[in-house]
Amino acid sequence: MLKTTSLLHIICNSSRISYTKGMERDFEFSPKGLADGFIKSWPIAVGVFTYGLVFGLLSSDAGLSLFDAVAMCVIVFAGAAQLIAMGIWIHPLPIWTIIFTTLAINLRYVLEGAALEPHFRGLKKWQSYLTLFFMNDESWALSLSRFKRGAKDKAFMLGSGLAVLVAWTSSTVVGQIWLAGVADSSKWGLDFALTAVFLSMLVSMWRGKSDIAPCIVAGIVAVAAERLLPGTWYILLGALAGACTTLFGRRKKHV
């Protein structure tokens, strides 16, 4: 997962590039570029495959059928949000909490899409909006680094996105079929897997001092709300209370 500071950095730089490049047609969108993106994405696909095994296991524990899990991988295609949804996948499903959490976790795509826009100027609408469906952290970072170095074929990102989708979905199938039902999950500590995954994500997202106040407030409000309120309201309340700390207090320094 990428740090948000680097996201902002890339956004600033990429918009600068776009204004200096001018009007000449310096882009294409070819099948060759698509194939190139697909093949050159194998290292990130391998990384995604490991996460998919975890999702397969957890989705099976949460009671999703193979069809449910595969459908989610293909039409939602958002690893972190899917993993987090498994933590609150308790029947009757807290529909709005799951959808809000998905939205919150995926807000980074708003920034990533914004950073991409200058590089896609001139493409047809369907080319851009189709590619955006497959945008994921890894493909975005790999493709943008190439576009910034002047790569012309923008179909690279679509190819990369497809490679990640294939890795993500196939590893979910493997995880569901082979890893699920291995043992009673709490006996082996596997019920802790999700907490461990979330903590690791948190570490990888950590930006520095500016995160301390939001996280402390989120933690306190979440624990209190979990004790006092039914269901999964603690997630929404903790998240919003924590984020609200950015609106008050001292002027923010850099980011």
Binding site: V54, I105, A114, V203, G219, I235
Partner: protein
């Protein structure tokens, strides 16, 4: 088909909001200028969601979970390797539960 209607509805809802996040930044960037405060608020959200999710387990479930959480954070911080940190967490919690319940 989906194992039940509820599951299908939630998955479809997740798909809609996810695509909206993917497309909206791209769509809006040339039109709207995001204020610094809104940007800081949005930047904080993914982290605070994660904290809210783990806080009850990390802080209030028991010493085994708290200590294992610490082990996960240290491993993730040092190694930047998510699967490794996960394995360390699972093994730690498994061992500690046998000794301290």
């Amino acid at each position: 088909m989906f194992s039940n209607t509820e599951t299908g509805v939630v998955i479809f809802g997740m798909a809609v909001v996810t695509y909206l996040t993917r497309a909206s930044g791209f769509y809006l960037v040339s039109r709207v200028k995001v204020s610094g405060k809104l940007e800081a608020f949005l930047n904080a959200i993914p982290g605070t969601v994660l904290v809210s999710l783990v806080a009850p387990v990390v802080l209030a479930d028991g010493p085994a979970e708290s200590i294992a959480s610490l082990a996960v954070v240290l491993t993730a911080w040092k190694s930047r390797n998510l699967p490794l940190a996960m394995v360390v967490g699972i093994v730690t919690v498994w061992v500690l539960r046998r000794f301290i319940g």
